[in-house]
């Protein structure tokens, strides 16, 4: 099989992995080699699904011994199988990088003979790129659950980011849909990576010659909508991963039905709206000072379909509002629907020079379409004060044109919880 045919099979098999970030690492390239990394990350193209392409995202092989129900590469699925040689991956990476198509390599793989054998082949590719080819670009490597800690450590020394996919949000779902994968085989390397990153950061403070370990941190991904967990369970899991394992990112991937299996839900389309709402809630956890318990509860364990999670929170908490633009601190401003990190920073910066007027608010680029129900400007309201939340709810729904593109997305027909 020639490289082109392999590339088609092995990039097609890798496309369901949501991660594409190339940020978080800053490395000067080797003087006689190719490539460096930029801390903000760079997108090089956008695919037909609108997602950014920054890395050559491929599997080393799709020839899998596992039989996970949701996976296109499961051993019982009759798809064409292919495996790259190390040389092929290295040449593709360098040929693409030299033409500025990509920021680096994203290497994952199906489990070929055993986790260790697969991981070893992947590590060899990264090692050759770094040491033989003097490649200084970005490398993101997947850790195969169950591979030895020695290999995990080695991967972290060559890669900028490493990630172990958690795949499904609970042990029960893992057992049902991916019986060959075990919770501890996923969480153990995660904890190990977390420890190694911390150690490396401490050592590098003492000496700049200490080796870097996954300088862009670790991330993970879970599939949304293939198993019956509710949003509250998922958010609490993410919160734990951020707090206890020091993860940089949790990616959510709307389940795309690739093969029929009676253990899987029947969906008319991937649950994109749910994925979108989870990402919004995830942002609230990471940048807005919210906790999972504030966003959802056992009584209301699902994210609102019609409102973003912050607006939904605000409607439940009328006692928190109105927030005074000229007085509230940054953390309070962040809780206003429609005011994001950028707007809150701009408000705080502009207040140093003069009080902000309603007109000034527009001038500094704060969109008040949603915010206007929740703020005052030097004591003046934009809307009639003390409107009941139910009325605000209705008016927001009528005026929410910025959210309109989401509402035409196909909805999930059968809830996964119903088919267990």
């Amino acid at each position: 099989m020639d490289t082109l045919a392999k590339l088609q099979i092995l990039s097609g098999a890798a496309r369901y992995d949501a991660s594409c970030a190339s940020s978080g690492s800053k490395r000067e390239g080797p003087s006689c080699g190719t490539g460096n990394t930029s801390s903000s990350g760079i997108c090089h193209s956008w695919a037909d699904d609108g997602r950014c392409i920054s890395l050559l995202k491929i599997l080393l092989s799709n020839d899998c011994i596992y039989d996970c129900a949701y996976c296109v590469n499961r051993s019982t699925n009759p798809v064409e199988r292919a495996s790259f040689s190390a040389r092929e991956v290295i040449d593709l990476t360098l040929d693409f990088y030299r033409r500025n198509y990509i920021e680096g390599l994203f290497l994952s793989s199906a489990v070929m003979q055993s986790p260790d054998q697969t991981m070893e082949r992947m590590v060899r590719v990264a090692e050759a790129l770094r040491t033989e080819e003097q490649f200084g670009g970005y490398i993101h490597m997947k850790i195969i659950p169950g591979s030895s800690s020695e290999l995990v450590r080695k991967a972290g020394l060559y890669a900028d980011r490493i990630s172990v996919n958690i795949e499904l949000p609970s042990q029960a779902s893992l057992q049902r849909l991916a019986p060959q994968k075990h919770k501890h085989a996923i969480l153990e390397p995660m904890a190990l990576i977390g420890r190694e990153i911390t150690t490396s950061l401490v050592e590098r403070k003492a000496s700049h010659r200490a080796p870097r370990f996954a300088p862009a941190g670790q991330s993970t991904q879970m599939i949304i909508g293939a198993s019956p967990e509710n949003d509250f369970q998922i958010l609490r899991l993410s919160q734990g991963l951020y707090k206890k394992m020091n993860l940089k990112r949790v990616y959510y991937s709307a389940y795309v039905p690739v093969i029929a299996d009676n253990r899987l839900p029947v969906l008319a389309a991937p649950p994109l709206l749910r994925e979108h709402r989870l990402y919004q809630a995830d942002w609230l956890l990471r940048f807005y000072g919210f906790s999972a318990e504030e966003i959802l509860s056992d009584d209301a364990p699902h994210l609102d379909e019609s409102f973003d999670p912050k607006t939904a929170w605000a409607l439940r908490h009328p006692e928190f509002f109105p927030v005074e633009i000229n007085g509230a601190d940054y953390a309070t401003l962040l809780r206003v629907p429609g005011i994001g990190v950028l707007s809150a920073k701009r408000i705080v910066a502009a207040r140093r020079f003069s009080r902000i007027t309603p007109d000034g608010l527009k001038k500094i680029g704060v969109v008040i379409k949603r915010a206007k129900y929740f703020i005052t400007c030097s004591g003046r309201s934009f809307e009639k004060p003390d409107q009941p939340p139910a009325l605000i709810r209705q008016r927001l729904l009528l005026g929410e044109s910025s959210e309109a593109p989401m509402s035409i997305l196909p909805k999930q027909l059968v809830l996964p919880g119903l088919i267990a």
Binding site: T3, L4, L7, Q8, S11, G12, A14, R15, Y16, E28, G29, P30, S31, C32, G33, T34, G35, N36, S38, S40, I42, C43, H44, S45, W46, A47, D48, D49, G50, R51, C52, I53, L56, K57, L92, D95, F96, R98, R99, N100, Y101, E103, Q134, V256, A269, P270, L272, R346, V348, A349, A350, R352, F353, S354, I356, G360, K363, I364, G365, P405
Partner: protein
């Protein structure tokens, strides 16, 4: 209100600003624009002094590095008719330091910051969207038609990245070029451009890239609107993956 004129060059602009900041008690009350040499033109023309221009930029960098960066990005945009705003912006930057970028309720600050942001955004975009082609002699060439004059910082970016390669950047509309070879970066203009022959392997690598581009998209999630808003069509002309679609 005093009116000042300058010769229309970048050096002229910066040295006039330096001169006004030195001589005028309240620089925010004066205007500055390009001299047109029309009959009834009013205003005092300030001479151009490259050293003065350079020292202004250097002093601003010391005093307010962020604001100096904004000034630099603004100059890439080659915007005409915003000289007075720039003068007021620089004056405010010396007064308030880097905090000036938060003073978005001030019209001059808003104008300058917005233009600078657009130029900065295109520079960042181009770092990703530029495409090199390998030529027969082993060198790499990238053609582009950016809105803003970003070839300088862009070439610097690639001089840190593709160090071991011999490469050229060519701004087709401005006819300017950058060349990196053996550790030195040079800039120049090109009067007559003839497209050199590509290397034999080039076509093959481009086919591989096109195939990757196609298969990496999830068919169930097709979203051409999102694709276009992230990657505007004006950049497609030189994108390998968007040829022959």
């Amino acid at each position: 209100m005093n009116r000042y004129l300058y010769d229309g060059t970048a050096d002229g602009l910066l040295s006039s600003i330096a001169w006004i900041l030195e001589e005028e008690p309240d620089p925010e009350k004066v205007t500055l624009r390009e001299r047109m040499d029309t009959l009834f033109e009013e205003g005092f023309t300030i001479g151009t002094d490259a050293t003065l221009a350079e020292s202004l930029f250097f002093r601003l960098k010391q005093h307010a590095p962020d604001a100096a960066h904004t000034l630099y990005s603004f100059m890439l945009a080659e915007k005409e008719g915003m000289e007075t705003s720039l003068l007021h912006y620089v004056s405010l930057a010396f007064k308030h330091g880097d905090k000036v970028k938060g003073y978005l309720t001030h019209p001059a600050v808003r104008d300058i910051v917005n233009v600078a942001k657009k130029a900065g955004r295109e520079l960042h975009r181009m770092k990703g969207l530029l495409r090199f082609e390998k030529l027969q002699d082993g060198a790499y060439l990238a053609k582009m038609e950016p809105d803003y004059n970003i070839i300088n910082p862009l070439a610097y970016h690639f001089s840190r990245r593709l160090r071991a390669q011999h490469w050229f950047l060519y701004d087709v509309k401005r006819r300017t070029a950058a060349r990196w070879n053996n550790g030195t970066l040079q800039f120049g203009t090109i009067e007559q451009f003839t497209t050199p022959a590509l290397s034999e392997e080039e076509k093959k690598v481009q086919e591989l890239w096109k195939a990757f581009f196609k298969t990496i998209a999830i068919p169930d999630r097709k979203n051409p609107h999102l694709q276009k808003s992230n990657m505007p069509m004006k950049y497609w002309k030189y994108l390998v993956e968007k040829q022959g679609e």
